[in-house]
């Protein structure tokens, strides 16, 4: 099977802007085309990853780049939308139907808790079971009970991510907080606090995907897609479906564990072969559980692993060099492609103060409603003179 590569990336900062989705989306898309060294007319098909934007948003946004008759399809898989859309590009290229594909993630979201009518049944909303962080918090509470994970270990993850974001011009909050400030920030849903959760916001990120052969002809700095896997949670395997009940007798592996395992197999790599990670820190505890699910540390030891500094930029397994969703915010449709933009920068060696030394491989991971999970593994391409 021929290699598929990311040839160009673009990002509009994540935050809150007095700009339309069309403006921020077209900006990220044009940057990706420029970075790839190609024109809009070179693109054979395009996908928009989005959850909140209305029907036909892909066509509305990308028409701003010029007239076209190519297929433009909107893709939605909750927080994993970007992975699902990138996977469509991979499939389109592998099928031979397309040779050059643009994948754009774009979102504009209101402040505050996400609209519950999208993912909860009316009775769950009426009874007050429609606050997303309450599910993450219940998971954290049980992990603390089972494994002795502490509130300080959870806060240390938020501390790391906020600090990493200071040098990321695409993050919404670029402020370092002390551990004390984080641990004294208001509780949202016990034990998770305000400075430990991500906020919905606006943002856009885009990639140009093509074959390795075409990339060689064009030149530039391609990055190989070693794996791009999307799956949903198995029966009773994830709280954040959001579940109204869970089985007490069947203990299926969670969606991150399942998806990462498939991605490692496709890539022919294991956790020890990946030099840097961008993962779904919807809340700081979530990142701790992901360390365990993607195999960075044994089950139950994620809190200690974080506290020992292994996931700092200078650690053995750097995680969320960009500052993560906690500091970037989560424009749902754009979040995974934003992670991919960061990993590509790391593999190209252009991440500045956030650079992981000599990063050759990287993973991007998202997880959300419906138990939707996507994992993309990228690898630096050796350029032969």
């Amino acid at each position: 099977m021929s290699d598929v590569v990311i040839l160009g990336v673009g990002i509009h900062p994540f935050g809150r802007f007095d700009k339309s989705a069309e403006e921020i989306g077209a900006d990220a898309a044009q940057q990706a085309l420029d970075d790839a060294g190609v024109k809009w007319s070179d693109i054979d098909s395009a996908y928009l990853s989005r959850m909140y934007l209305p029907a036909t948003s892909g066509a509305r946004i990308l028409r701003r780049l010029g007239g076209t008759d190519i297929p433009i399809v909107d893709v939605e898989a909750a927080c994993a939308s970007g992975g699902a859309a990138l996977r469509q590009a991979l499939l389109a290229i592998r099928s031979g139907e397309s040779e050059m594909v643009l994948v754009l993630g774009c979102e504009k979201m209101p402040r505050g808790f996400m609209d519950p009518s999208m993912i909860y049944a009316p009775w769950q909303v009426q009874m007050g079971m429609s606050l997303n962080p309450s599910y993450w918090s219940m998971r954290a509470r049980r992990h603390m009970y089972d494994h002795g994970t502490t509130e300080e270990q959870i806060a240390l993850v938020a501390h790391k991510n906020h600090r990493n974001s200071v040098s990321n011009p695409n993050a919404m909050y670029r402020k370092e907080f002390t551990l004390e400030q984080i641990m004294n920030s208001p509780l949202v849903c016990d034990p998770i606090r305000l400075l430990e959760i991500c906020a919905p916001n606006d943002g856009a990120a885009a990639v140009v995907v093509t074959t390795a052969e075409r990339a060689r002809k064009i030149g530039g700095r391609p990055v190989r897609i070693a794996a791009c896997v999307h799956s949903i949670a198995r029966y009773s395997a994830d709280f954040r479906c959001p579940a109204d009940s869970m089985s007490a007798t069947i203990d299926n592996p969670g969606p991150t564990e399942v998806t990462a395992k498939k991605a490692y197999e496709r890539a022919g790599m294991g956790p020890g072969d990946i030099d840097c990670f961008e993962v779904q820190d919807t809340d700081a505890f979530c990142e701790i559980e992901i360390y365990e699910d993607i195999g960075l540390c044994p089950r139950g030891e994620g809190g200690r692993f974080a506290a020992e500094g292994h996931t700092q930029i200078t650690g053995l397994h750097p995680v969320n060099m960009s500052g993560g969703l906690i500091s970037k915010g989560e424009p749902v449709g754009a979040s995974h492609l934003g992670q991919v933009v960061e990993v590509v920068a790391q593999l190209r060696g252009t991440a500045g103060p956030r650079q992981v030394a000599d990063a050759k491989t990287g993973m991007a991971h998202v997880l959300g409603a419906g138990g939707n999970c996507a994992v993309t593994i990228l690898e630096r391409v050796q350029v032969h003179a």
Binding site: V125, Q126, M138, D244, M246
Partner: protein, 144 residues
């Protein structure tokens, strides 16, 4: 929580609450047990959520269980929340029933007192008690 109303109650989710909803003491939640894989899901379902089998039988779920995990909801939930106004912080938890299912439910009682492992009991919780069409919902509280 509130149970006082003389108007007929409508179950908050069809097939989840045993009818008639005659008294708080007889109040039960319903589940569906799969004849093929044995899994139990809450509510009255036509297909097993685990194996896809259609040999399901309706069961009345145990009114008592153990608190498996919980949180405190400290901000008013978004959307059509029917709880007290103004908003009052409340517990939300997963209660493990001996039937083999953990059920998500609001928790009655002092938010400072919940602990994993506590024995819990099902309550009828009437929402919109003053409206023409009050809803029969449910909650759990600690025993003792």
């Amino acid at each position: 929580m509130s149970t006082a109303t003389d108007r007929p109650l409508t179950p908050i989710r069809k097939g989840l609450i045993s009818e008639p909803i005659d008294s708080p003491e007889a109040f039960r939640l319903l589940g569906s047990k799969c004849g093929a894989c044995g899994e139990l899901s809450i509510g009255t379902n036509a297909v097993c959520l685990n194996c896809g089998g259609s040999d399901l039988s309706s069961v009345r779920l145990s009114p008592e269980g153990i608190l498996w995990t919980f949180t405190i909801v400290r901000h008013a939930p978004p959307g059509d929340y029917r709880g007290p106004k103004p908003f009052v912080p409340f517990g939300l938890g997963l209660i493990e029933l001996p039937d083999g299912v953990r059920i998500m439910a609001p928790l009655d009682g002092d938010i400072e007192t919940f602990r994993i492992g506590a024995r819990m009991r099902l309550n009828l919780n009437v929402l919109d008690a003053d409206s023409p069409a009050p809803l029969a919902a449910f909650s759990f509280s600690m025993i003792g």
